[in-house]
């Protein structure tokens, strides 16, 4: 579990290496591969039991381990190996630099995405479906199933998954608090008692009438309104002025 959590912070072995480089304040352009290899290997060894799922980490682990082991060779052989070392380091640095560039590009894409999401559009007009009647009945050749599966994906996506801009937007239900605020604004102008129905004049849905009723109850409770019920069972409401 701990492994999952820790590795989930990273997008892969290169991301983990970049993290270790910045954590240990290593210079990417003058990389001390020895330190990086040690850090990386100890990180991986900590989680080695649970690593079978993340073979990508193991591939890099193996090559860094090889690098480390070469460092342990007797000096003479190590000198012969210097070219190999340089080579391996250059290759890794080049990969890290390139990966970091795309990581940065991804960060700017994220900003673009956030900005874009604040600009909302409306659904295409329902009239379009009416207008887009095929002119000819018989000419259905060259249809491809890719288009069909794309259509199905579109449907599923809209139906269950991402609810993107094109989904019908659900209007939030009005709350009693919001309604109290709206009524409070209306009431001072009503010196005379008014019917409950008058307060519902702008309601179009049952829910809004119920919320209005709840708001009225609450306002009576708050001593902002008094009520009387006449013999025709009409509810009359009046503002309490102090």
């Amino acid at each position: 579990m701990e492994f999952k959590v820790s590795l989930n912070q990273f997008e892969g072995p290169l991301d983990l290496m970049l993290h270790l480089i910045s954590k240990n304040k290593l210079d990417l352009f003058d990389l001390d591969l020895q330190i990086l290899a040690e850090q990386y290997c100890s990180y991986i060894q900590t989680y080695i039991d649970k690593l079978d799922a993340a073979s990508e980490y193991m591939v890099e682990f193996a090559s860094l381990l090889e690098y480390k082991s070469r460092k342990l060779l007797p000096k003479k052989e190590a000198e012969l190996d210097a070219g190999y070392e340089e080579d391996q380091r250059d290759k890794l640095v080049a990969r890290l630099v390139e990966y970091q560039r795309y990581k940065e590009a991804a960060a700017s894409l994220k900003e673009f995405e956030e900005d874009r999401q604040k600009h909302v559009s409306r659904m295409v007009s329902s009239l379009v479906e009416e207008w887009s009647v095929p002119k000819e009945e018989g000419s259905l050749e060259g249809l491809n199933i890719y288009e069909l599966s794309k259509a199905m994906k579109r449907v599923l996506r809209r139906h269950a998954v991402i609810k993107p801009y094109e989904t019908t937007i659900q209007v939030k239900e009005l709350s009693a608090e919001e309604r109290i605020a709206q009524l409070a604004e209306l009431l001072p102008s009503l010196a005379m008692p008014v019917r409950f129905e008058t307060l519902c004049a702008d309601c179009r849905r049952l829910h809004e009438i119920i919320v209005t009723f709840l708001a009225v109850l609450e306002m009576i409770h708050m001593n902002k309104l008094t009520y009387t019920i006449d013999d025709k069972e009409t509810i009359w409401l009046q503002t309490i002025t102090n």
Binding site: S125, E136, L143, N144, I169
Partner: protein
């Protein structure tokens, strides 16, 4: 005050644009524009109505059954109609493809099931597809009301060059698709 009104007008226009065909009631507008009074909002709506009546505007602000909505002006319709007729003429519309896809992947399937997935009424579309010989309804479900069960036809198989429905590309389940999004990574 004047600049406040500018801001309010802009907000109301933006909100009405997003609302599209559903429109918004004054209550709804007021519930989100809490810094403004009902009178402010009403005044702005009437101002906007006047703004839209200008000959260089292509939408108007209508109020049906206490819901305010922006609708395109009538003289736009003939151009719009031409536009959409022309584009979709040679092939199936996106709506038709979606309906066909649901039937092909889920058959046999009732109208109500199709509508549940697409989220819109499909009656006219099903008729059209039947007329074009792409779907048929030979049997009825044993569910309440014995609704018709739609399936694709041999004509459909021909049009898409399929021997069997097994050849349809596999579709990932919505749950798997969700893994794409960061919210799921947190799970």
């Amino acid at each position: 005050m004047a600049s406040d009104n500018h801001e309010l007008k802009a907000l109301v226009e933006g909100l009405l644009y997003i609302a599209g065909e559903e429109g918004l009631s004054i209550i709804q507008l007021q519930s989100t524009l809490q810094d403004y009074t009902r009178e402010d909002i009403e005044k702005i709506l009437f101002e906007m109505q006047k703004d839209c009546s200008s000959p260089d505007r292509g939408v108007e602000l209508a109020c049906y059954a206490s819901r305010w909505k922006l609708v395109s002006k009538e003289n736009v319709f003939e151009y719009a109609k031409r536009l959409y007729e022309d584009i979709k003429a040679p092939t199936l519309s996106a709506a038709a493809l979606e309906t066909l896809a649901i039937i092909a992947y889920r058959q046999p399937v009732t109208r109500v099931e199709i509508e549940e997935i697409r989220g819109v009424s499909c009656e006219a579309m099903l008729k059209k597809l039947q007329l074009r010989g792409l779907i048929e309804a030979k049997e009825r479900s044993s569910a309440v009301g014995n609704p018709l069960l739609y399936t694709v036809t041999d004509g459909f198989m021909d049009a898409f060059a399929l021997d069997s429905l097994d050849q349809l590309p596999e579709i990932e389940k919505p749950r798997e698709q969700q893994e794409l999004f960061s919210s799921n990574l947190e799970d």
